[in-house]
Each structure stands twice: as C-alpha cells, then as structure tokens.
C-alpha cells in the first residue's frame, strides 16, 4: 500500500509539473509579499495547584516578552501559484532562550481550469463553522496556539500539513476536495499513519443551507459534517460534528501508585461523537454574539475524572522524586486542549467599541461538567496604517483540581503590538 501511495504521489507531482511547464509560458509574474511583526509582553498571576506545587519548576515563567515575525509570499505566473509562509519566534529567558524558525506553508498550486485546482507541499488547512471547539477541524493543534494574539493570527501561526491533493468546483456550486498526507520521517512529524481526506460541500440556495460532509483515514479515522444557515438578517445557526474511531485521551487504569501510575488508551475501536451546535446574532449596533454548546464523547466521564482527582491527591501526599514522577505522569496524560465532555462557549465581538475604532472581543469557555472555565477579553486599536496595539487579559476559574484550575497560570495579562508591511 505504501509503495502504491509513493507511486501515486510521484506520478501526480510529475503530471503536475509537466502541465505547469506548458501553461506558464508567456504569462507575466505576479508577486506579493507581506510581513507581520508581533512583539509582546505577558505577565502571569500564578497560583500553586496540587498538580503544580511549584510553577517555576514546571517551566512556567511569571513574565514573558517575545517576538514573532511571519513572512507570507505568493508568486504566480499563469495558472501556477507558489505560496509560502515562514515564521520566526523568539522568546528570551534567563535560562533557556528559544529561537525557532518554522516553515508553516510552502506549496505549489496549479489551476487546470476555473473549476479544477491541484496542489502539493505544506499547506495550512482549517475546517468548520464554530468559534470555540471545532470538531471537524481535525488538523488543528490548539495546544500550540499562542493565544495572546487575535484568534485568526493564533490559528494561522501553525505548521501546515504536507500533502498532495486537488479541489474540484462544479458549475452547480459544489466542491470536492481530496488530499493525501503521508507519514514520512521528514513529513508530517506528528502523524503515526498516512492520512487521506475527502470532502464534499454543497449549498442549497432555496433553503440557504450549506453543508460539508467529510471522511478521513489516519490515526483516528471517521466522518464529519458541517452546516450553517442564516435566519433573517441577524441570526446564523451552525453545527460541526465528527464521529471518529479510537480515543486520544488515556485513562487511569487504577488509582493506586505501583511503580508509577498506569494510564492506557482504552476503548480502542469504539466510535466517539464530538459535536458543536452554535448560533450567532448581530445587533443593529454591530455587536456580534455567538453561543455554542459542545459535547465531546471522548472527554473524561465523571467516574474517570474522579479517578484522576484521586491520583492527584495521592501525588500530593507523596514527596521528593516520587511525587515529581507521579505528577509528571498525570500532567502528560492530561495534556489535551479539553478534558471533559460538556461545554458552553460565548463570544461577543464589536469592531468599533464606543466609537473609538477599537476592536473588542470577549470570550467565555465554561465547562458544564465541573463548572470551571476561562474568560478572555481582547482590545485592539489600529494606531496607524498597518500598526496596531492590543491588550489581552484572561482568567481561569473553578474549584480546586477542576479542569481549568489544574495548572498554575490562573490569570494573565498581555500587551502586544502588530506591525504589518
């Protein structure tokens, strides 16, 4: 199967280049390059938790200052387009400064006609309609998002997927998308298996409903469904859902500490439902409000969470290296974007708050299983063409050892500036 896939890719790339070579002759070059520089300072209000009795030892800093530079470029000639995005991140620190250069995107796309596009390379992909949890956005890595910037920038500053694929847009307005993302040593490092993705999008003009169905194969194969509809001139309803085989989260096999805790991926081959239902409303004054409910079937149930809570308490009663090891095991097992099953998400945004040309966004993510959550407030103002300053404040709330109070960074305040040229 692997040999067949490699053959298929090679043949695809060869055909692709042969076609492009023929078509780009006698066409003018189109070139566009954009640079964005972000500089930030972030301060944390840390509080000891059972899982992190010493925040500094866990690698968390009380204050941070850093910079991110991203360069996006597009070179086009005739039906060929080359696109790339590179990002440099610098986080100075007293003990371990971090400087990283990442190629988020680098791909070639050829337009065979107004309806057929082929592409290969590294490409950022995003799917779905929701704002909080987006079940169909299966290639997203929310844990890697630097959440101090606006959400679209945070989402964009990510490594893409190495793939080859095509989009076919029919004259009736439907879209077929298909790509293959292989798992090689130097491609798609996070993958453990080759990935295939296939989707079909359509729009029913009479009812105003748009729908995307998808199927994907890989570590956690499954099917997805997204849809949205506008009701009147102010209301939008939307939904994103997947049913996927296998579970990402590991469960505690027993709460006793026998040469370490035992976490295991149970429930393999079971199908887990992940669903977000959302609605949006736009007021006459421009205020947009989104309210969403999310059910994540692969989240920890109350019984499973009780076991985890018990293990944290057990680790707290230990001392020395044994305690560190126990906490490390639990922390590793709980490194997921979300842990429980039921959530509510609220977003309120207004572009021109108080008539001051001030972009504002308030978000609230509330865990319905343990009543813990996270609130965030962002204000951003463009001070001159291409330059803006912003402030982002966030706070986690909940009782001890609840989902959003496991970690010590209870509150944070970030100041940032974004310069684009």
């Amino acid at each position: 199967m692997r040999s067949f896939n490699v053959f298929l890719i090679s043949y695809g790339v060869f055909s692709f280049l042969a076609t492009v070579t023929k078509q780009v002759r006698a066409e003018e070059f189109r070139f566009d390059i954009n640079t964005e520089i972000g500089v930030y300072a972030r301060s944390y209000d840390s509080e000891k938790t059972d899982l992190f009795p010493n925040g500094k030892s866990a690698g968390l800093l009380t204050n941070q200052a850093g910079a991110d530079v991203s360069v996006t470029g597009t070179l086009g000639k005739g039906p060929l387009r080359l696109s790339g995005k590179s990002r440099f991140s610098y986080l100075p620190g007293s003990t371990s400064p971090v400087a990283e250069v990442t190629a988020d995107e680098l791909y070639a796309e050829v337009r065979f006609s107004d309806h057929l596009f082929g592409y290969f390379g590294r490409r950022s992909l995003a799917f779905g309609q929701s704002y909080g949890f987006i079940p169909v956005d299966i290639y997203n890595q929310p844990l890697k998002e630097k959440r101090l910037y606006p959400s679209d920038k945070s989402r964009n500053d990510m490594e893409g997927v190495d793939l080859i694929g095509f989009d076919f847009l029919t004259k009736n307005g439907d879209t077929f998308k298909m790509f293959y993302a292989p798992e090689f040593e130097w491609l798609n490092e996070g993958f453990t298996e080759d990935n295939w993705y296939l989707s079909y999008s359509t729009f029913f003009e009479t009812s105003g409903i748009d729908v995307t169905t998808s199927a994907f194969w890989g570590e956690r194969p499954g099917v997805g469904l997204s849809g949205s509809v506008a009701l009147g001139d102010k209301v939008v309803l939307y939904a994103d859902g997947t049913m996927r085989r296998n579970r990402e989260k590991k469960t505690l096999q027993h709460s006793k500490f026998i040469d370490g805790f035992t976490f295991a991926s149970g429930n393999d081959n079971r199908v887990f439902t992940y669903l977000t239902l959302g609605s949006g409303y736009t007021f006459d004054n421009g205020l947009s409000v989104n309210l969403e409910y999310t059910y994540d079937g692969s989240g920890y149930s109350q019984d499973e969470w009780d076991d985890i809570d018990e293990s944290i308490n057990l680790a707290s009663s230990m001392s020395g290296s044994l305690a560190s090891r126990a906490r490390g095991q639990i922390n590793t097992a709980l490194r997921h974007h979300s842990l429980r099953r039921n959530y509510a998400f609220l977003r309120m945004a207004k572009d021109d708050l108080l008539d001051l040309n001030l972009e504002s966004e308030f978000t609230l993510l509330h865990g319905l299983d343990d009543q813990s959550g996270r609130v965030g407030l962002r204000l951003e103002k463009e001070i001159t063409e291409g330059a803006s300053i912003g402030v982002f404040a966030s706070h986690r709330y909940g009782k001890e050892n609840s989902e959003f109070r496991l970690r010590p960074d209870i509150s944070s305040l970030a100041l940032y500036t974004l310069i684009r040229f």
């Binding site: 954009n34 879209t175 001139d233 102010k234 004054n285 291409g386 684009r420």
Partner: protein, 241 residues
C-alpha cells in the same frame, strides 16, 4: 333600491381602489427598476469602493457582481484586512479571513466599517430584496418609494427611497429596522458622474442614527463590465483570493 345603490358603490370603490393600487405598484416597480439600473450598470460588472469614517481608517474593496444576485467583495487595503473577502449568494453571506483559513457564515447585518453593513456593499439592487408598497409624489421634483422587505433575510425591514421625479435618479434613502419602525440609517446618493454611458452616483454618504449620527462615506470608482467566473462565487474558493 338604496341597498342596491350602496352595494354598487361599495363594489365600484373596491374595484377602483384595487385598480389604483395595482397601477401604483406597477409604476413603482418600474421606478425601482430604473433606480436599480442607475446603481448597477449591468448584470455582471466590477467596481471599487472606498469606505471611510471621518478621521478613522478607511477600507478599499473590489466588488465583482454576477447576475445581480451574487457578489464577491475583496479587501484591498488596509494591510490589516488585505486578503479578507465577503461572498454574497442571494441573501446568504460568508466571510473569509486569511488567518482563519476557512469561510465563515455571517448575517447580512454584519458590519464592515462604521455604519456600513456587508449588505450595503455587496447588494447593488433593491428590487432583489424589496417590493414597492407605495409611491408618493412629494413635490414636482421628488417622489418617495416605500419599499418593504420581501423576506426577513433582507438587511432592512423598510426603506423610504426618495428619487428625482425628472430622471428617477436616487437622491436619498431612509433605512428602517426589521419591524419597520426604527430609523437606522439615512443614505445620500451624491457625486453623480457619467459612468458606463449614463449618470450614476459615485458617492454614498451614510448617517448612522444608532451611532450618534456618525457619517460613513462610500466612494465608487473603476466601474467596468466584467463576467466573473461562476466558480469565484463558492465559499470553498474564497481562500484563493
């Protein structure tokens, strides 16, 4: 005898009232069609808009219209918004923000800048969303068309559109909320110039009554007849602009 006379009178009144309403509606629809022809030079065309709100930053956009019912708005400046686009298919709208990497469904009420909503930019004809309820001759120089939304998906519940009695060019319009009672905005059609063979407004000054009568202006330019490929008007294709 008297009863027969009253019955005849009532029947005649109903008949003439109906005929009069029908005549007015026909005239009104014709008048609205003339207004739309002034605003939209063809079924398929392209133009640029600059939206500015006094001292605040301004936006420039390129708009492609297809079959009068589909619109693609692409942001050109400022740099912050470059690459952003809004798609209109009938009364359905999507926005694409480059960083988000996905088209998102939005409502026609979603605002672009100041008092200007997405629908104000991309919807270039009134007759697609509104029907004429009455036409009043305010004076020898002006007529007022009372427009009512054909469905709840229209951006406004009611519009009072004042046109020139002489040549049907739109002069100003008052936009009301969904229930038709609350005055939201007043727009003034200004800067008439010869564009693609006839006099058309090149400036729309909008007074936002919900924001302390703040003024937003839209300047139209670079009109050209252009038949844009149908595949441009698909949400999944917005990433390519």
């Amino acid at each position: 005898m008297i009863n027969r006379f009253i019955l005849t009178l009532v029947t005649a009144t109903v008949f003439f009232a109906g005929s009069l309403t029908q005549t007015l509606a026909e005239n009104g629809e014709d008048l609205l069609r003339l207004v739309d022809e002034i605003r939209a030079p063809a079924k398929n065309f392209q133009f640029h808009i600059k939206v500015s709100t006094g001292s605040k930053s301004s936006l420039t956009m390129q708009v492609n219209v297809k079959d009068q019912s589909k619109g693609l708005v692409r942001y050109l400046t400022p740099k912050k918004n470059k690459g952003r686009s809004i798609l209109f298919v009938g009364r359905n709208m999507w926005v694409y923000i480059p960083g988000s990497r996905r088209p998102l469904r939005i409502s026609p009420q979603q605002q672009v800048l100041g008092g200007v909503s997405s629908a104000d930019i991309a919807r270039t004809v009134y007759s697609a969303d509104y029907k004429v309820m009455s036409v009043n001759a305010d004076s020898s120089r002006e007529k007022t068309l009372s427009l009512k939304a054909k469905s709840k998906a229209a951006a406004y519940g009611r519009i009072a559109l004042v046109v020139s009695a002489k040549d049907s060019r739109p002069l100003r319009a008052k936009f009301f909320s969904a229930n038709g009672k609350r005055l939201l905005k007043t727009a003034y059609f200004e800067g008439y110039k010869s564009v693609l063979g006839r006099q058309r407004p090149t400036k729309l000054r909008i007074v936002d009554h919900l924001a302390g009568n703040a003024i937003t202006t839209m300047h139209y330019s670079k009109y050209q007849l252009k038949d844009t490929p149908v595949s441009w008007f698909q949400p999944s294709n917005l990433q390519r602009f």
